[in-house]
Amino acid sequence: MNSPIVFDSSLVTANPLPPQAETIRLENVGVRYRIPSERIATFKEYFIRRLQGRVKSKEFWALRNVDLNILRGEVFGLIGHNGAGKSTLLKLIARVLKPTEGRVVVRGRVAPLLEMGAGFHGELTGRENVYLNGALLGFSHQEMEAKYPRIVDFAELQEFIDAPMRTYSSGMWARLGFAVATDAQPDVLIIDEVLAVGDEPFQRKSFDRIMQFRDGGATILLVSHNLIMVEALCHRVAWIDHGHVKQSGLTEEIIREYRQSHKNET
């Protein structure tokens, strides 16, 4: 176990991390988007208003006062309506977005499994795309050379790997994306509604791999509307509602409450 370099002086934890150490912590996190509230037609008008300080925008808190602790080796679910702030929360953890207020601490390498095959180019061959996608994930050329055979093997695309990816089926496209993103054991794996990839055998294979990561100590963040899946997989769940953590705790309880609230609505 490699002891992580801790920059945070307020966190005086002993290394190596105990098995129940937290991987992700959100402290009083808020994300505020500004949405222009009136249409400004021209550039000139914009500049004039800007100088006069009259550019009006509506403030919209996509997340507010969010506190979460997610532990090592935990499968953590995020549930809530569309637009509740789940995706924004994932962006914070994936380092894509910095919070407007509060603090986000993430230990280790985050592997996003958001939209598979994003970053592939249809004109390039499968092989070229594996190297390109690996670079996007931050791997060096040498690392990718070591990973390459395993990736192709896992995606079961040996025959087609030197064909341009535009000739691939969407299932092949997704398989290669999954294989590149999950080749190395990540510390945090983010899964956003894309657990079902390819045909049934491949789905089983990718599911097994995710479970291996969990057993190997990875933290898995799962965002899904499929409550049955969340129930089956997650240790704990946070229910996000209008940018707040409405409830968080053991999966069974939260899902029961969540379902109850749906019944009351209808």
């Binding site: 490699n2 002891s3 992580p4 370099i5 801790v6 920059f7 945070d8 988007y33 500004r34 550039f43 914009y46 962006k91 914070l92 994936a94 380092r95 894509v96 977005l97 910095k98 919070p99 509060g102 603090r103 986000v104 601490v105 993430v106 230990r107 280790g108 390498r109 985050v110 996003p112 958001l114 939209e115 994003a118 970053g119 180019h121 004109e123 390039l124 070229e128 190297y131 390109l132 690996g134 670079a135 996007l136 994930l137 931050g138 791997f139 060096s140 050329h141 040498q142 690392e143 990718m144 070591a146 990973k147 190395a184 510390d187």
Partner: protein, 289 residues
């Protein structure tokens, strides 16, 4: 098998974010941090350059030869129009136009690509962390590859125009480096602006057209009227950079210390300003795109 596995394990440890702690509240020097990140992600820069070069001409018959044919074709048209119709008589005018055109095209394409790639890369930036400067840096890399390839037709056209090529030609990497620094600085600055105001990208096209005519690409300096025009063109940074680019091959002279100092100074200041401005804004990009 076992040995291979071990090797893989140790290689993976070197990944940029492995074993590190990300804390959003830590305030660090964003410009320096970005520099460090782009170094860690140098493989991505290489892969982006490779992708851009491979895919650009992938379906064309002549392929990468277009990198040389496009400036040659433009040169041919401009040379005919301006020497026949407007009567410009300069020794080796074709080589003069081609060398100016190459420096200009490099600048305009690189700075434009920096804007387009960042705005296009928005979807990517929303899903996965990559250093934000990677788009502008790889656009500059792609431009440099194309510029290097088009040195071949430049040398041929120069020799064809009856201009001998001497050892000063070996100094061509100096103006190329300065052009790259300048273009990267401008590209970074404009792409950071274009995230906020999409109009910048459109406006820049018009500005580039005007800027081209303010730069010594088609016209030769001695035909310009003295006075205001001469002053105006000296305010144009591309005036110095294009002239420096012409020295080693077209003029066959070694640039003086002053030539190098002026162009180098312009390039360095532009790059530093562009980099600082860009990295100070980079955290806000995800809020916009």
């Amino acid at each position: 098998m076992r040995g291979l596995f071990n090797k893989v394990k140790s290689a993976e440890v070197q990944s940029p974010t492995v074993g590190s702690v990300y804390d959003s509240s830590l305030k660090r020097s964003t410009a320096l941090e970005e520099l460090q990140e782009i170094f860690l992600y140098r493989n991505l820069v290489f892969q982006f350059v490779r992708r851009d070069i491979l895919t650009r001409y992938k379906r064309s018959v002549l392929g990468i030869a277009w990198t040389m044919l496009t400036p040659l074709g433009t040169m041919l048209i401009l040379t005919i129009v301006f020497s026949k119709a407007f009567g410009i008589k300069t020794e080796g005018y074709a080589a003069y136009v081609l060398s100016g055109l190459m420096a200009w095209t490099f600048f305009s394409q690189t700075s434009n690509a920096a804007i387009i790639h960042l705005v296009w890369g928005g979807t990517l930036l929303n899903r996965i962390y990559v250093p934000r400067t990677v788009f502008a840096v790889s656009a500059t890399g792609t431009g440099l590859v194309n510029l290097t390839i088009s040195l071949i037709p430049l040398i041929i056209v120069t020799l064809f125009s009856g201009i001998p090529i001497g050892w000063p030609a070996l100094l061509i990497p100096i103006p190329m480096l300065f052009l790259a620094m300048f273009s990267l600085g401008v590209g970074l600055f404009l792409s950071a602006m274009a995230i906020y105001y999409a109009d910048i990208a459109e406006m820049y096209q018009v500005i580039l057209t005007g800027w081209l005519y303010l730069s010594p690409v088609i016209w030769v300096e001695n035909i310009l009227p003295k006075g205001f025009a001469a002053l105006l063109i000296r305010l144009n940074p591309m005036y110095y950079l294009i002239n420096l680019f012409r020295m080693p091959i077209y003029e066959g002279v070694v640039p003086t210390f002053t030539d190098i100092a002026i162009s180098g100074g312009i390039a360095l200041v532009t790059l530093v300003v562009g980099w600082l401005f860009f990295s100070s804004r980079a955290d806000e990009f995800a809020y916009r795109v």
